[in-house]
Symmetry: C2
Subunit: 448 residues, 2 copies
């Protein structure tokens, strides 16, 4: 109970799942506290467009507060959740703001949706060299590195060093990897050539490295083949059945199936391989005395509650859901629609309980999967209907615009896209400080 | 001469002046190299809107390369100019990119327009506490600090500490200071109140501290008075005839004319007082054996050339122009129109010389001055025609949209403004990493 006397739901994580849950709970007679380490909700499927300069951060991220400004019983707090005390029903929150203190949040029901990040095959030391494009901050850094590489090539006089600056390696051919490789190739081929005088961005090489024997393994093989052809038409070199075994600042080492290794000189690396659940999954697992799986996911009951803790509900990328028949924990795809459906389900569960109603187990309704490759090209698998090319891309466009939160953002994104589409330009190609590899000076001054 | 055999003009600085110069030179039969430490041109008069979350960086900054993509004889290079060798006609360029080397650029004619920054009354140690909003990076940092202050107030339980988080001090009541104070007040009063639950942004205090006895001293006193009234209506406390004598992380100390000092507890400080020329002015002064003035400006001839060096032209905020009659160095206002007119003049001078034509001395044509205060309020002094309120604001809007480079940007900015105007919302209120005061952890990880 809160001081208001209402049931208090704490929601951890303002991603797709958390947002849907809060949205539904806002209309119920409960108090809600939403905790996130960022002050915004990120429309992550378009983050790769920030990383390649097509969209600005403000176009795909919305302040959480502004989403819930009309919901007086929803409170948003900025903080990093560091642990749970399931016995006392408390969440420990560490400050993300300077000069503020850690504190605890009491809950009646706890909803946790901490998401996932990329795993580096156990090589955490590769993380600073091969950046991922999961968070908005890392997307801005990737944007800076890509643009800086073209800038460095322009002032580099040694041909071998110049070639190295113009080689881009993307690791992992899932949707994000495919999108990134396609976008970098378009940047090099369409957007930049007219703007450089001594280097030729068209000479740029984009390599997409994938351990599996096809790209987009979540799609049917026929669509994987089409996506590969589309990527190659854009100039991307697709290296299948190759695993990255080493990452250095000026080269990447890959191993083929036969065990032979090759060094590829390059300067810019993007990581989009391997997924690991939020560390909050492990926290919950430990608190409940359950193991997490190899990818760090905690297994929850068919109604998404934590085993032995019906007052704790977890969902999204960080969980496996136990199948009521087999008893096994199933992994649903780490996609926005899964998290969104689970978030709405979790809110419904809370509401049903307060009304003493039963809730049937969660079931995922698969509406289809989409991935875009480049300008006006995509693949789509919608309940067995397989689309590719322009039609798939139009579908992708409509779906993404439809789900972009906020009318203003939709308008801005559409304006940017329309402009990019007709001119091959990119409106957000800025190298700002966030995007720069920090120099000794900036680090020193930051310490002051 | 360049390898092409054409006259080579090196232009240092891609601000308003540099851009106009390059734009004009692009149509002449010369090679141009434009050097800037950033890869973009910043529309600085709207930077305060980035600092307060109304506009995104991509909306007021355009990549320099994209501006000159259609000009094959214009080359853009990213680099920090560190010095000049006027004897050998060389510019020393330090790399701003990681793992690239310093180099020298040979010129036939050199155009320098390095701009200015804020002076901290000799207290450089105040710079990291009281940020300025001159660069895009610092505007993003200011945005982060302002938004973080409201976030911190929301989780702060001690009333005195909460009040401190909700107190904002703006130093200097020139156009930027007035704009910042007005925008912060609007943010606290109109945009945020509905979004906070335990703190009240309306309780926020905005103080505007100015040494002079009126705001906007560049305008006639009657407009200063109207601007002050408009600010006070927005809830800004205007402290005239007060000088800042101390800045700490949790308070600012001001001194009145009678010598009494007062401590004002606050957490967020914005600096918009005192102007100092780019250090390039001093470099040029030393190279030419001339002194710089108290604000670091170098005095140039009536045709903007460096004394004794007709092949070096300097303009914009960093120069005084010698009056051909009195012989004295005159300071023109540090405004975009001055720099733009001088940039075009400098390019014309180069073109005239190559055609062996004489060029009359530079003359500034004052078209008027504008400053905005808040939503739909501004003051304008257009050749003696004094406007204030909505009409002045409409004038301001048209002038600023007209000068925003790039059709796409104009469209985006108009969309954002229209949206903000009708909803009192702000589309770009993100606290990204660039905006955060670095924590020990982030600094440590950045060092790795």
């Amino acid at each position: 109970m809160n001081t208001s006397g209402r049931h208090h739901v704490v929601v951890v994580g303002g991603g797709f799942g958390g947002l849907q849950a809060v949205n539904k709970l806002a209309r119920a007679d409960v108090d809600v506290t939403l905790v996130d380490r960022n002050n915004y909700h990120l429309f992550q499927p378009l983050n790769y467009q920030v990383a390649t300069g097509s969209l600005s951060p403000g176009e795909i991220a919305v302040p959480l507060r502004s989403i819930f400004r009309g919901a007086p019983r929803v409170r948003v707090v900025l903080g990093e959740v560091t642990g749970f005390n399931l016995y006392d029903r408390e969440v420990a929150v560490a400050p993300v703001l300077p000069e503020t203190e850690a504190y605890k949040l009491r809950y009646d029901t706890l909803l946790v949706s901490g998401g996932s990040s990329y795993a580096y095959f156990g090589h955490e030391d590769w993380r600073s060299t091969a950046l991922e494009v999961k968070s908005l901050d890392s997307a801005l850094q990737v944007r800076g590195r890509i643009l800086q590489a073209f800038e460095a090539a322009e002032v580099e006089t040694d041909p071998a060093a110049q070639e190295r600056w113009l080689t881009f390696v993307v690791v992992g051919a899932g949707p994000t990897g495919v999108e990134m490789a396609g976008q970098i190739a378009e940047l090099a081929r369409d957007t930049l050539p007219a703007e450089f005088r001594t280097s030729d961005p068209r000479a740029g090489k984009v390599l997409l490295i994938e351990t599996a024997d096809r790209v987009l393994t979540a799609f049917p093989p026929s669509l994987s083949a089409r996506a590969k052809t589309a990527l190659e038409k854009l100039g991307v070199t697709v290296m299948l059945s190759h695993t990255v075994v080493g990452v250095q600042s000026d080269c990447v080492e890959v191993r083929a199936l036969d065990g032979t290794t090759t060094q590829i000189p390059a300067r810019t690396f993007v990581w989009a391989a391997g997924v690991t659940a939020s560390t909050l999954a492990r926290e919950l697992g430990e608190a409940a005395g359950t193991e997490v799986d190899r990818s760090g996911r905690v297994t929850v009951e068919p109604d998404l509650t934590l085993p032995g803790h019906p007052e704790v509900v977890a969902f999204g990328d960080m969980v496996r859901v136990r199948d009521p028949k087999s008893g096994e924990g199933q992994v649903l795809p780490g996609l926005a629609p899964v998290a969104m459906q689970q978030g709405r389900y979790a809110a419904g569960l809370v509401i049903d309980r307060l009304a003493s109603r039963n809730t049937p187990p969660f079931r995922y309704l698969d509406k289809g999967t989409l991935a875009t490759i480049g300008r006006a090209k995509a693949v789509a698998d919608i309940r067995g209907l397989r689309l590719s090319g322009f039609v798939a891309w139009l579908t992708w466009l409509v779906v993404h615009l439809f789900y972009l939160i906020g009318f203003e953002n939709r308008l801005l994104v559409l304006t940017q896209w329309a402009f990019s589409f007709f001119t091959h330009g990119r409106g957000a190609r800025l190298i700002t400080e966030a995007a720069q590899t920090p120099t000794r000076e900036s680090v020193e001054s930051a310490r002051e």
